[in-house]
Symmetry: D2
Subunit: 358 residues, 4 copies
Amino acid sequence: MPAPTRLDFTSDNVTGASPEILAALVRANEGQVQSYGGDPHTATLERLAEEVFERPVAILPIATGTAANALALSMLARPFEAIYCHATAHLMTDECGAPEFYTAGAKLIGLPARDGKLRPEQLAEAVEFARSMGVHHVQPAAVSVSQVTEWGTIYSREALAALAVRAHALGLKVHMDGARFANAVARLGCTPAEASWKAGVDILSLGATKNGALAAEAVVAFDAALAAELAFRRKRSGHLWSKTRFLSAQLNAYLKDGLWLRSARHSNEMADRLAAGLAAIPGARLVQPVEANEVFAALPGPVTARLRAHGFRFYDWPSPEEESTSVVRLVTSHDMKASDIDAFVEVAGKSSQQGAAK
Amino acid sequence: MPAPTRLDFTSDNVTGASPEILAALVRANEGQVQSYGGDPHTATLERLAEEVFERPVAILPIATGTAANALALSMLARPFEAIYCHATAHLMTDECGAPEFYTAGAKLIGLPARDGKLRPEQLAEAVEFARSMGVHHVQPAAVSVSQVTEWGTIYSREALAALAVRAHALGLKVHMDGARFANAVARLGCTPAEASWKAGVDILSLGATKNGALAAEAVVAFDAALAAELAFRRKRSGHLWSKTRFLSAQLNAYLKDGLWLRSARHSNEMADRLAAGLAAIPGARLVQPVEANEVFAALPGPVTARLRAHGFRFYDWPSPEEESTSVVRLVTSHDMKASDIDAFVEVAGKSSQQGAAK
Amino acid sequence: MPAPTRLDFTSDNVTGASPEILAALVRANEGQVQSYGGDPHTATLERLAEEVFERPVAILPIATGTAANALALSMLARPFEAIYCHATAHLMTDECGAPEFYTAGAKLIGLPARDGKLRPEQLAEAVEFARSMGVHHVQPAAVSVSQVTEWGTIYSREALAALAVRAHALGLKVHMDGARFANAVARLGCTPAEASWKAGVDILSLGATKNGALAAEAVVAFDAALAAELAFRRKRSGHLWSKTRFLSAQLNAYLKDGLWLRSARHSNEMADRLAAGLAAIPGARLVQPVEANEVFAALPGPVTARLRAHGFRFYDWPSPEEESTSVVRLVTSHDMKASDIDAFVEVAGKSSQQGAAK
Amino acid sequence: MPAPTRLDFTSDNVTGASPEILAALVRANEGQVQSYGGDPHTATLERLAEEVFERPVAILPIATGTAANALALSMLARPFEAIYCHATAHLMTDECGAPEFYTAGAKLIGLPARDGKLRPEQLAEAVEFARSMGVHHVQPAAVSVSQVTEWGTIYSREALAALAVRAHALGLKVHMDGARFANAVARLGCTPAEASWKAGVDILSLGATKNGALAAEAVVAFDAALAAELAFRRKRSGHLWSKTRFLSAQLNAYLKDGLWLRSARHSNEMADRLAAGLAAIPGARLVQPVEANEVFAALPGPVTARLRAHGFRFYDWPSPEEESTSVVRLVTSHDMKASDIDAFVEVAGKSSQQGAAK
């Protein structure tokens, strides 16, 4: 077995960019073009996005997922309003208050869900409570779902639509944190339109960085009339690049000819392979279904120790459902090879007397 | 005379990146590295910045100048405080309220100055007025100077130091919007340290995008203890890249071996050449001294019409001092050639009957 | 001549409340009533306001004028937008950034005007400039006029309507800071409706504190549909009193049977009397027409010294138009008597050798 | 039995003011005094507060408890920081996002507690989690305790001190929402100093409105050096009254000669009497210890129906611990008489055939 070249399973953001995207960036360097998005690359992106999503959209390229989420939410909630999300949503616990910053202090209200997926009923209950409080309580404005969820699971199209239908009936807008939207689309086997606006999503944070871009995400609003306000909010937050061509070029290469879905499908397959390998190890157990490119597994302490001794990197993951402290998160990425996965599994599966022998 | 390849003089952000910076970005793509700035490129940048500025600093790479300015100012002023700046400072008129956003509503107070440079006396008067108003008025916290100024001029080291000494005596911090800091250093012929903290600057927005990066600026705080708070504020604003290596690699190439100063010196020389050429044209006149890479010139209407007919692009510039409406701003950049400048001047200087003949 | 009982001319907020208003407050203390505005006093206020303004309105009682202004503006401008006002408007210089706070960082843009009154043309120019800047500049959303102005002058109905018509044509909403609205209505001799929405005002800060309340102002929105959003914004800012009856009772007494206009008419007359008296003093001169209850006068130094030696209090006022530093502002109020005014004028008019003899 | 005059048990804010406080307000109306707190009443308040709390303090009178809380918290947490509080704290669920508004988006993190009281251990765990997340998570800055708690219970001096000691050891400041601070002091039988700063409280929202003022609370900072910043923040939020005398006069009457503690003791006794009466009714049960002026009781459905049929008003209270939906909150106040309580208990205790006979 060859030495693994990919030892880091902490996140899909430890990788570089796909060759196609890097090449597109280099090509985009040529010549003078108008700044602030008046360039041909951005025009192409706008056209391409409408093809991909099969409808007019407002698409604004932006460098980070935190910014995309916060910017999108600032379109949905006024300062005295509430946004419902999963209690451990990225925007709740991992964005250092960016949504509160961009919305000028709107409130995120976290709802529990064992598998990361919100249910229509729990949303309805929370909304009813808020409205019963009248002027004293922030008022429901939006719900944000993560697709892929924080537990690596994926809302089925039906589950997503049911939630969105209920949200709309309650007068709420629907945001999707699609940092790993490509992984979800690839797994669901549906079109990007079916995975988003056709299922009721009003505004999408479309990720690319984790799936092969250098630094590129996009806010995609399915109401194209929002483009102007989004543009002012982006500028005001310092996220409008003078040389926007370099963001748009990344996204063009990403979306063109299905690169994004190929990359995501590959990551997903690597996760499947990893899950299958781990499941065969005595004492190991998957704690969530593996549906995208993340594996949450309960591993025996000696196994995680041995893996780390071999140089593998990954996070322990707080898991309220598990007594054991050895739940870990393993993230696969677009540039991992089957041999990288196999190397990990092999070390994990070694008998423990071998494990210390590195 | 060869056909000019650079027809666009609207701004130095219509250009691509320097070959050295693009190459560094491509090299940085290799392998897995820790995300969010835990990578070797960022470690190098931190070391390099301390060499360049000859002291410990906190340096945070960031994608845009607007973000760098707003982030820096958020360190200096609380929401009930005031920041003084030139009445037409970029952060006053061109950042769509980003400073107000990042400071949670601190007030920018614009001071007039014909040549873009604030004077110690006018600052002192404004501060005295604010303090005389007691609790009813936002309280003075900082002054922001643009170096290069909005009029393409440059504070001498003495003028800058005099302003900063006065500001500090008044209890204010000093921010420098250094979107074109390299052009100023190159022209002043001093060290980066002399042009910044040795002259009293507390925090600097260090530009690179206009001078050859794809998208890279940095907040440089000369009090290194500010690094932690800056890091939280950056994350919260969505400006922490997961793949920070791609920002740091640009800045490393920029600062290494003096590329930044060579590029800026070249731009400055192109502006000098352009200014000299225009000054020789009958009816043309420079309305500000040309000290960096911007030329503000009053040109006869037929001249600007002819230039535009030949495909040259540039902005008319509002100029309160001039009756004429034909003041234009011409910006040179790191990738312009002497032949580009000469082509511009040649068209500008043609007799008018030739001008319409394109 | 009797000893004056009113020595303080610094502002109309150094006075207590009108007996009628105080009595109403005391009466409102009886019994248990529903909190947060569900009380009969507030219901009465809502009915009364619609009578006074001859149309459905949303009226929200609130304790301070700064809060009323800031709350009203937060309904008109989003964070990336601009509000135009006089360069020395109260909300620009005397509210410690409250409008920026409540609007989450919208920008106040000050326009100059020698007599405190904005002109349609200057507003149109400022708006045109902002729009020409596109995404880089905060976008025009509203204009705020002070009626009575900062210079004690009053927009005629025609001048106000001309400004409002232009503002509306430009797509802006119109806010009126009516801290002294009663004084304006009393002087204009028109109805409150004619002085506000019939002249194009969309939202009014209706003052009462300076004119005889203890602490009571109101936000009056002429689009009654704004009531709900206003209510949330008021609560969120901590301005919803649990015992709202005590605010509403003040305003009811104020508006009922014309007390507010009688009080204002009296203050105006006291100012007229003061102006006439001062104008007759050698070396004294009014620097603005006296149209409400404020007198701006250039007084010889010995006169101001003598007045202060006698215990009179008033502010020196910065006056860009005057070389002299001895411009003073004198404010009359609802509880001043003709004898108070006469005492002031008598001391002012004494020959200087007598002046020092207190 | 006489007819009850107090039928409303929904809250202690449905009452008017104590006669002593109303009289003080009327007395304060006399004469001209300096505005914005430069009046003798406010000077007296500052002196009185230092007597009551036995140390130098900064005390700022303010009209509402929501404003007092939000203002206090804005002194403790920067926008990228976190404030821990009980999951159903007033500032979490009843202030429409005011803390987020005043702190520019700091995050409230709710911690569960069956009896309304936070424990040192749970605080420490939450802080440890946040710090482990590094730059991605808002950082711990403060803890806010409600004394009296949301469940009508009272932290013992020991429990409070233990929490505060731990908070300080963790680097957090301690805020107390003392909307019913008087009730707590009266029950604890200690000094105001012992109930606040001697137990580790850094900043206190001192309530008076619920306990006999018209509209008056105060922010009390035990670090007197905070006075200046507090003053700017108060002005900026529109909470500085021009006629501050009318706030200060209320608080002076409240704090003078122990009126506040007498009123609170009376309310507490009325709650004790009510609790004792209800406990004797078959099927009724107290769901929390009665320690202040609130009674949380599970009452049989026919009992609550009968009470309401007699005109009594009170809230059903969401109670996660109880299957039954008939938990109610009953609040007694400073102006209730024993006969009011007895009337309530008598109706509650009637046999059900009588209950419907109103």
